[in-house]
Amino acid sequence: MRKFLVLILFVFTVFLFSETLVIKGSNTIFPIAQLWIEKLKTIYPDLEITLEGAGSSTGIAALFNKTADIANASRWLKESEIAKMHKEGRYFIPIVIGYDGIAIIVNKNLNLEKISLNTLKKIYTGKIRYWNQVDPNLPKKQIQIYSRNTASGTFETFEKIVLNKEKMAPWVRMVESTRFELETVEKNPYAIAYVGIGYVTDDVRVLKVEGILPTKENILNGVYPISRALYMFLDATNGYPDSGAIKKYITFGLSKEGQELVEKAGYVAAYGF
């Protein structure tokens, strides 16, 4: 009995002194969350945070079955998720943490500066197959189309904004990571791909979409057509967290410093400019 009590006490103290915060979700938000956690660790050394990036849907699913405290999502809730939320009597609240734009990238050697949403859609749905159909000055080479796989939030956003319910051509190559897309476009003179602007490097060319570059101002003003808000969803069924790890994390994220880190990760800050 005494042993048992000691054990209970032990477990309890462990609970008291280490709060574990579990964050899951979008791969797009992963770099932001990573920077925040690094910084938070220096402020609160005893804070335990685990971070997993697996896609927005996975994060929200984890919020439903209570295996995560915060779900990072690069999209709004789906209708089915909202319905499920109502059915279970839960209440998830979104917090905008920044903005992301999707940049359309091509190889540096391809003589192309801008593209229209309509052309982009035609390329991805397979109606246009050669570069000279995009611009007569380009060579008659097959366009090598790359896309993130269906598990990615970037794919979902791209699909919603650009394809607008139409299907991607079956020969579009679905790849597992943004890194891969960048490297391919860098090497392959006739490739086209889309990546979150946070990932764009100097080795690829970013196209103007509808004549607009994905710059900070354009995304904040909502002028650049392929952009989206980034959210943190948290379970507020029992009210907004007024203390504890979740609260610390959110408060930091929305602070000036946290928002500077959003910029550092390559996205656009939502507050404090």
Partner: protein, 285 residues
């Protein structure tokens, strides 16, 4: 006392055997159970439709392209790997000196320890850019997948085949040589015939390994669900589809069940192959 000991050992062995068989049965049961809704709901559609659009609205679950890709990549890799493996083990068994054998076996054992991810990545980094110089439109394709799979399964098939050749009694070969047959003919006609079961078994295991290989085809296959018209077209085998999509398919959604159905199809292909090989082996052996 002796009786007790005997029964104890028997029970122990029996328990372990039962455990492994139960695990296998559970696995098959689980796959069937999870794919049942897809079978009931989609009926024959996965096998006749080419369109694999699981995340669209309305979704389409045509797996024909995926199945064809799987079979293509398997057949091509097997056609390369199995004869090559046989010739290498032929050489090892017949002509190689002990030192040579030792070195080659060592190299093979090192090769078989290379993780498939590394092979896939190496092909992407070193082989893929070369293709661009030849004006090939897709830098991840069937050819590269076959290359990777052959590379991956070669050590496996070589070591299995060498073992089965080595298992043939020396007397048989010596009798053949004594009757004036050359080394080459002896190995080709006598040793191979005597060890045909082992060799077939090695071939089947190699094919099964190729079918189930995921990482290489995921990395270098290209991930486009089409039936390739040339060897340089991108592909997406069943394994790649499962690996790429299962993480995002909502549990108990139709997409999820369809992916399990893909797993079931793989399992069936594998079982049919094994069954036929065993049957053939019995007739010959």
């Amino acid at each position: 006392m002796r009786n007790i000991k005997y029964y104890f050992q028997l029970t122990l062995i029996f328990t372990f055997a039962l455990f492994s068989i139960a695990a296998l049965i559970f696995l098959i049961f689980f796959i069937v159970k999870e794919s049942l809704p897809a079978i009931i709901h989609l009926k024959i559609k996965p096998f006749i439709s080419l369109y694999w659009y699981p995340t669209y609205d309305p979704p389409e679950f045509g797996m024909l392209a995926l199945i064809v890709d799987t079979l293509l990549v398997t057949v091509l890799s097997s056609v390369i790997t199995i004869p090559l493996g046989y010739f290498i083990s032929f050489y090892l068994h017949t002509y190689a000196s002990d030192r040579e054998k030792h070195i080659i076996k060592y190299i093979i054992s090192v090769l078989s320890g290379v993780p498939s991810v590394i092979i896939g990545a190496a092909i992407l980094i070193f082989v893929s850019p070369i293709l661009l110089n030849f004006d090939i439109w897709s830098t991840e394709n069937l050819f590269l997948a076959v290359l990777g799979l052959s590379f991956l399964s070669l050590p496996y098939s070589v070591s299995l085949m060498t073992d089965s050749l080595e298992d043939v009694p020396r007397e048989l070969e010596e009798s053949s040589l004594a009757l004036g047959a050359s080394k080459f003919i002896t190995t080709l006609k006598i040793t191979t015939k005597a060890s045909i079961n082992g060799i077939l078994n090695a071939a089947v295991l190699t094919i099964n390994r190729v079918i189930g290989e995921t990482m290489v085809v995921l990395l270098v296959g290209g991930g486009a669900a089409i039936i390739p018209t040339s060897i340089f077209d991108p592909i997406k085998p069943l394994t790649a589809a499962i690996a790429s999509e299962i993480g995002e398919a909502g549990v108990n959604s139709m997409h999820y069940h369809a992916l399990f159905l893909a797993g079931l199809i793989l399992l069936c292909i594998s079982l049919i192959l094994t069954y036929y090989a065993k049957k053939r082996g019995r007739i010959d052996g």
